[in-house]
């Protein structure tokens, strides 16, 4: 019955199975330990070390990084702004993705496949490429502003500020949201909608009373994914924000590469992980509430 039975004869099974399994899993355990577990644990420890500036580290362990980060007005503002911006991006992503997901759920056959490929392809295209595309649209000399000028309207500042970051990230996160929504749309049975209609519900009522509640699990998953990715995204805020939009992820990079204050960068990293954990808890609460 079991897969293991075909590897070796009985009797010699246990010891040789263990040996073989170790051999097969050895490389991945080595890579995982060397480039994931060890660095992450090291990062956690580093958040309790003193920075001597210029990359130097003090010998003693200290809570200073944590306490100063959580007291300093700049960092509190940074954390709050990061969370608020990410929440805003999440909601915009949901609003932009929901019609596409609902349409894809209804569409059929070859057309659906083509549209799905169009949704997935951006996911496989480098974030640098897509961000670059947004610069072309949002720049002072870009598509929107040139169109506005041609229409005789005033140009708007869309790049190197929060507006640009929010627009760009919303688009970048849409494929994730759409896939998550689609995964959660499984419970959406057209017959239930039909049943509601025969009971006298208008299309608008069917949407709010039937479709939206039934798709809540997908919405929750998509929002979790978008929020988490928004908080941790770096390339897009950095390029579209032009160094003028301060978010947790960009600050981590600056502290690590520019200021060379690794303990502070490590502390900020851990704060991101804490925000992740909180989002995950909220998600499971929400999921239990809607199911």
């Amino acid at each position: 019955m079991t897969a293991a039975t075909m590897i070796t004869a009985p009797g010699s099974r246990t010891s040789s199975i263990v040996f073989l399994a170790t051999l097969l899993l050895g490389p991945i355990i080595a890579v995982n330990g060397l480039a994931f577990i060890m660095p992450v644990l090291n990062l956690l420890m580093l958040s309790f070390r003193e920075s001597l500036g210029g990359g130097g580290l003090g010998d003693a362990y200290t809570l200073d990084n944590w306490s100063s980060t959580l007291v300093d007005g700049f960092y509190i503002e940074l954390i709050v702004q990061s969370i608020l911006t990410s929440l805003m991006i999440t909601i915009l992503t949901l609003v932009a993705s929901y019609p596409i997901a609902l349409y894809l759920h209804r569409a059929q056959g070859r057309w659906r496949t083509i549209l799905l490929v169009l949704v997935i392809s951006p996911l496989l295209t480098s974030a640098v490429v897509r961000t670059y595309g947004w610069i072309a649209i949002l720049a002072d000399d870009g598509l929107i502003n040139n169109t506005l000028k041609a229409l005789g309207a005033d140009a708007m500042r869309l790049l190197f500020n929060k507006v640009g970051v929010v627009i760009g990230l919303t688009e970048i996160l849409m494929p994730y949201m759409i896939l998550a929504l689609l995964a959660g749309f499984g419970r959406l049975d057209p017959r239930v909608e039909e049943a509601a209609e025969t009971l006298g519900a208008s299309p608008w009522k069917v949407f709010w009373r039937i479709i939206v509640p039934l798709t809540m699990p997908g919405v929750a998953l998509g929002c979790l994914l978008s929020f988490v990715l928004a908080v941790s995204s770096f390339i897009t805020p950095k390029l579209l924000g032009g160094g003028r939009v301060f978010l947790l992820a960009t600050e981590i990079y600056d502290q690590a590469i520019v200021t060379l204050n690794w303990p502070l960068a490590a502390t900020l990293s851990m704060i991101i992980l804490v925000i992740f954990g909180a989002a995950l808890v909220l998600y499971s609460r929400l999921l239990r509430a809607v199911l």
């Binding site: 019955m1 079991t2 039975t5 075909m6 070796t8 004869a9 009985p10 009797g11």
Partner: protein, 357 residues
């Protein structure tokens, strides 16, 4: 017991929470076709998988041709296995599928191909050598699976419910085909099935399993006429049951004395095959049993069903329901419900078992 070509001693398979096969002892002679028959979960498939080496035995031994194979991996056992779901290699042609086992045995390519083509011809699939399994029907796929198992001339051929995915007509065809090929090649074979007709009509011997235990190993005739246990009697063929109390060869059923071969004592169950019971209604002549001792009880017809070739009567005999059949001849009037009838059968056709707890 004479050691057979396939010898199974105290074979046991225990899972964490249950015993799938419990102390199985079985000797199978060379060239025999033996069925493992039983309801689902009786341990027949698990036993087969242990013989094949696909499931390790918890304890006990399996030997083939005098050689203990209990600890051998499946690929060292020299067996052929035909699976219920065919298990063909989807990425290989029919010919490559059949050649695979020969290749593993390092048979030179030219000879392997010749033998594979022979085997494919044997299962009547000439001309389909280059097809992929997905391009064949279920019956054809099972023929490929059969050819693939046969071509390596295994010392034992195992069938794991090979016909249960096929429709009724195809199943009948395959039964006689498998039987004739098996006899021609003389390969010792085990045929796992839950279908008693399949087991009785195809196999030399039938091993009836129930709850992981062997109930009886015997010829189809043994099983039907001389079932060793109440389970075998009721699982193989149909039976009418009567409960009574035995005292020697005299059994009291609802105040009426019946006789049965052999002596027993205490609460017993009598079983009689429905078609061995003769029903006589008022005004009909009793059939002549000659000098044979007979049993007889009275009853009342409760219901009658018309099934084309037979009329099926349900009779209430002192609170115990019997069924009896009469073949139709056309034009007769069925005996109507409520009529008093008499049921008669030979004492020799009476089976006695200790009452189930």
């Amino acid at each position: 017991m004479q050691p057979g070509f396939l010898s199974i001693r105290s074979l046991t398979k225990r899972y964490e929470t249950m015993v799938a096969v419990d102390d199985l002892n079985l000797e199978i002679a060379k060239g025999e076709l033996v069925a493992f028959l039983g309801p689902s979960g009786c341990g027949k498939s698990t036993s087969l998988r242990m013989i094949a080496g696909l499931a390790p035995a918890t304890s006990g031994t399996i030997s083939i041709g005098g050689k203990d194979v209990t600890q051998l991996a499946p690929y060292r056992r020299d067996i052929g296995l035909v699976f219920q779901s065919y298990a063909l290699f989807p990425h290989m042609s029919v010919l490559k599928n059949v050649m695979f086992g020969l290749e593993m045995r390092k048979v030179p390519a030219a000879e392997a191909e010749r033998r594979a083509r022979e085997a494919i011809a044997m299962v009547q699939l000439e001309g389909r050598e280059d097809r992929r399994p997905a391009q064949l029907s279920g019956g054809q796929q099972q023929r490929v699976a059969l050819a693939r198992a046969l071509v390596i001339q295994p010392s034992i051929l195992l069938f794991d419910e090979p016909l249960s995915n096929l429709d009724a007509k195809l199943r009948d065809e395959m039964r006689s085909e498998i039987r004739s090929i098996q006899k021609r090649l003389g390969i010792t074979s085990i045929f796992v099935t839950h279908d008693q007709v399949e087991a009785l009509s195809m196999c030399d011997k039938v091993a009836v399993l129930n709850g992981g235990r062997l109930e009886q190993l015997g010829t189809p005739n043994d099983l039907y006429e001389r079932p060793a246990t109440a389970f075998v009697a009721s699982f193989v063929g149909r039976t009418n049951r009567l409960s009574g109390v035995a005292e020697g060869d005299c059994i009291s059923v609802g105040g009426k004395a019946l006789r049965a071969p052999g002596a027993s004592k205490g609460k017993v169950e009598l079983m009689v095959r429905p078609h061995r019971m003769v029903m006589t209604a008022a005004g009909e002549t009793m059939p002549d049993f000659g000098s044979e001792p007979i049993n007889s009880i009275d009853g009342e017809i409760r219901d009658v069903y018309y099934a084309g070739d037979i009329l099926h009567y349900e009779i209430d005999a002192g609170g115990q329901v019997m069924s009896v059949e009469r073949t139709t001849s056309g034009g007769e009037t069925p005996v109507s419900p409520g009529s008093a009838v008499n049921l008669t059968w030979r004492v020799a056709d009476t089976l006695v078992f200790g009452a189930a707890q």
